[in-house]
């Protein structure tokens, strides 16, 4: 956007946000999308909830084996990843902030930063996982366990570890795609997102949810007390 149009807009007040045909007025439209996103996040909580229930059950039942099994996880890498994820939440929040201010340049920069951090997260995760493959800690026929506690109980720990961090990683990947599409549409001034900060806000809500799940997973798997 050139300086001139920017100045013009400042003079005439901002351009109208588009109103979709099913709505009567803008606040109704904006609130609907936000409420819809929150309801979707409720379904996400229930979706992860099933796995968290399995986690609670087995950790309580096999607490000794789980303590043993968890010592093979890499705490420094896990900590780094948590920090990376938290930082990406900050950049996402800033992206929403700049979308509201209609500052497209900084909004795009922040979206880009979020994608970058998300990729860093995935790369670190990939290193962690490949180490588990080398040590035979991946559930399945090749699972090897030399320790005092029974192998099936330790395998269960790794089943849930891979199941839950895998599902989380899938959400991160989906997040990268969604943020990428949003950034692209914003850059192209597509009518779906033009003059409308709500799409960014919705993607932001999703991203914060993904972060919160990550923040729960870290202590649950890496920091099991004796």
């Amino acid at each position: 956007m050139s300086m001139k149009t920017e100045a013009l807009q400042a003079a005439h007040g901002a351009e109208e946000q588009p109103l979709h045909h099913q709505f009567e007025e803008l606040p109704q439209q904006n609130e609907s999308y936000v409420v819809g996103m929150w309801v979707f996040l409720v379904t996400e909580i229930m979706f992860f909830g099933g796995m968290f229930l399995a986690y609670v059950l087995y950790r309580w039942r096999y607490s000794e084996a789980w303590f043993e099994a968890h010592t093979k996880l890499d705490i420094p890498l896990g900590t780094t990843n948590t920090v990376v994820l938290l930082t990406s939440s900050l950049t996402m929040a800033l992206a929403v902030h700049f979308a509201q201010l209609r500052n497209k340049r900084l909004q795009l920069a922040m979206l880009g930063a979020t994608i970058g951090l998300a990729c860093v997260f995935l790369v670190i995760k990939a290193f962690e996982w490949s180490a588990k493959f080398q040590h035979g800690l991946v559930p399945g026929p090749n699972f090897t366990w030399e320790g005092l506690v029974p192998a099936p109980q330790a395998q269960l720990f790794y089943s849930l570890y891979f199941g839950m961090t895998g599902l989380h990683a899938l959400h991160v990947i989906i997040g990268i795609v969604v943020i990428g599409v949003l950034a692209l549409l914003t850059a192209l001034d597509h009518p779906l997102v033009k003059n409308d900060f709500i799409p960014t806000e919705l993607v932001g809500l999703y991203w914060h949810f993904v972060d919160i799940v990550g923040i729960f997973l870290f202590p649950l798997f890496y920091l099991i007390p004796k």
Partner: protein, 556 residues
């Protein structure tokens, strides 16, 4: 937005074309965002699945005519009842009322132009079709034999059938119902017309809302559960199989945490339909509006606390069983509240015995039997004897066919003139309602007896007890009558599309916003968003009489 309430927005030369005429290409249907068109797409799709499910049912009934079976191998029989259960539950009963009647009516009933998210609505239809195709493909290429419940470790470790593809189908269909649920919740919260307060909402809207809450809270849980089964099957990531360290009872807990509430996903929308129809055909206000509204929410809440009654013999502890038993009794209370309110509504009403109302009567009678036998099963001591017998089969068919399908047919007959602007022959409607009622009872009453005598479910022979044959033959005879009963409406409803007389905007003299707009409605539903100044169901039989709005055949 207007400030005066248009009493009736009839057809006038400048009124916009109906949603059926808003485009004639296939593309205009397959890419539509209009909730009414999506409802019609759903109607076609669920009818196809109902047809497939019925074929499987007929095969089951034929097989059981003789104590040694008639035509199917053990394996094939397992696949047939699994196909029947999966198709009927996931692809017919769950979407039928919300996605067809709810989709069409919910926005109109609250005075909105569409659902909050039209594109999500269309996506939900595509997901439904994709999921259904996966399940049908799995059945066509070898079938599945786990039963609709997918119990582990059989499903995850041992079954050599197409479990994975079927589960993928159910998983995708789950997201289709989640999409509908989210859409309904947001629409009810944010799209109500001015003056449409929560307590002016038609009870069908309350029912759909409560259903959506269950969908949103329950469906994701079954989705992750089924995903874990697939992971165990494919990658040996064991969570449920004892060989891999897991616990199969955990699967049952997670599965029933969804699947008990799922029975309310099936019945609550049907109950919603009943309210609309019963008030219209008795010309009365509903008895106990608030009680009915809140009992829907109570059912939605309590329904999440009773799943253990499916697991009395699963090794769950006795105390757990006692708690679940008690809570199951509690859930019968809101159901009973509704039933009493409906009977109280009929009492001293100016009843008109037309087709939709006959289905309502059928619903009440059959649902009461189904609900009460649920209490037999919720008592631990009787359930130990009755579980996994035909008694359970009879119980759930009374609530699901007698409840949900009767409710669906009542609603379909009530709103058919609104959907298509055409009237069907009422006498044929009444006849088929009667045939369905008789056929249904003849099919499933004998199954209570069979179950009580000890006939196990999911067996395809009973040579150990040939005396069961009498009851099985009765049941199969009933199923044949039932099939005829379902075919007749299919014929005359389709017939009416072309040859039926025009229905006009309000053929039943019914209240509710959907009856203030033309039939079939225009794409945007309302020319101007109405302002609501009245409670729902403001029927007044005496005023009807004064204004001679009562058709000749009305009985008092």
């Amino acid at each position: 937005m207007s400030t005066v309430a248009p009493v009736f927005q009839g057809e006038s030369p400048q009124s916009p074309p109906s949603y059926l005429k808003a485009g004639h290409t296939i593309k205009s249907w397959l890419l539509t965002g209009d909730h009414k068109r999506i409802a019609i797409l759903y109607l076609i799709a669920v009818s196809v699945f109902f047809f497939f499910g019925s074929i499987a049912a007929s095969m089951i009934r034929v097989e059981l005519v003789s104590p040694r079976g008639v035509m199917l191998e053990n394996d094939t029989y397992n696949k047939v009842f699994t196909a029947h259960g999966i198709i009927m539950i996931f692809f017919f009963l769950i979407p039928a009322i919300p996605a067809v009647l709810g989709n069409f009516l919910l926005p109109i009933m609250i005075g909105a132009r569409d659902l909050a998210f039209p594109r999500l609505n269309l996506l939900s239809w595509y997901l439904y079709v994709a999921g259904g195709l996966c399940a049908l493909l799995a059945m066509a290429f070898g079938g599945v034999d786990t039963g609709w419940t997918f119990y582990t470790p059989y499903s995850s470790m041992y079954s050599n059938t197409n479990v994975t593809l079927t589960i993928v189908g159910a998983f995708i269909a789950g997201f289709s119902s989640i999409a509908t649920g989210i859409n309904f919740i947001v629409t009810v919260h944010k799209m109500r017309a001015p003056g449409m307060t929560w307590f002016r909402l038609p009870l069908m809207v309350w029912g759909s809302y409560a259903t959506s809450v269950i969908i949103v809270l329950g469906t994701p849980v079954v989705a992750i559960t089924l995903l874990l089964v697939v992971m165990e099957r494919v990658f040996h990531i064991g969570v449920f199989s004892p060989e891999l360290g897991g616990d199969p009872v955990l699967f049952q807990h997670l599965f029933w945490f969804y699947s008990h509430p799922a029975v309310y996903i099936m019945i609550l929308p049907a109950m919603g339909v009943i309210n609309e129809v019963i008030t219209c055909f008795t010309r009365k206000r509903i008895f106990g509006y608030h009680f009915i509204a809140f009992s829907s929410l109570a059912i939605a809440g309590l329904g999440f606390l009773v799943w253990g009654h499916h697991m009395f013999v699963s090794s769950q502890s006795m105390y757990q069983g006692m708690v679940f038993s008690l809570l199951s009794y509690l859930v019968a209370v809101p159901s009973a509240i509704k039933t009493f309110n409906w009977t109280a509504t009929i009492y001293k009403g100016s009843v008109r015995f037309q087709t939709p109302f006959l289905y309502v009567l059928g619903f009440i009678g059959l649902f009461v039997v189904g609900g009460l036998t649920g209490l037999f099963l919720a008592a631990m001591s009787t359930d130990v004897h009755l579980t996994d017998t035909y008694f359970v089969v009879a119980h759930f068919h009374y609530v699901m066919v007698g409840g949900t399908i009767m409710g669906f047919l009542a609603g379909l007959h009530f709103w058919w003139p609104k959907f298509f602007g055409k009237m069907y022959p009422d006498n044929w409607g009444k006849l088929s309602a009667l045939i369905i009622f008789i056929g249904f009872n003849l099919t499933f009453l004998p199954q209570f007896v069979l179950g009580y005598l000890g006939m196990p479910r999911r067996y395809h022979y009973y040579y150990f007890a040939p005396e069961f044959q009498f009851w099985h033959i009765a049941s199969t005879a009933g199923a044949s009558i039932l099939a005829v009963g379902f075919l007749i409406p299919a014929v005359y409803l389709l017939w009416s599309l072309k040859y039926g007389p025009d229905a006009g905007p309000n053929p039943w003299g019914a209240k509710g916003l959907e009856w203030t707009i033309p039939s079939p409605p225009p794409t945007t539903n309302f020319v101007e968003i109405p302002v609501v100044r009245e409670e729902p169901y403001a029927y007044d039989a005496e005023a009807d009489e004064r204004e001679e709005r009562v058709p000749a055949e009305t009985k008092r």
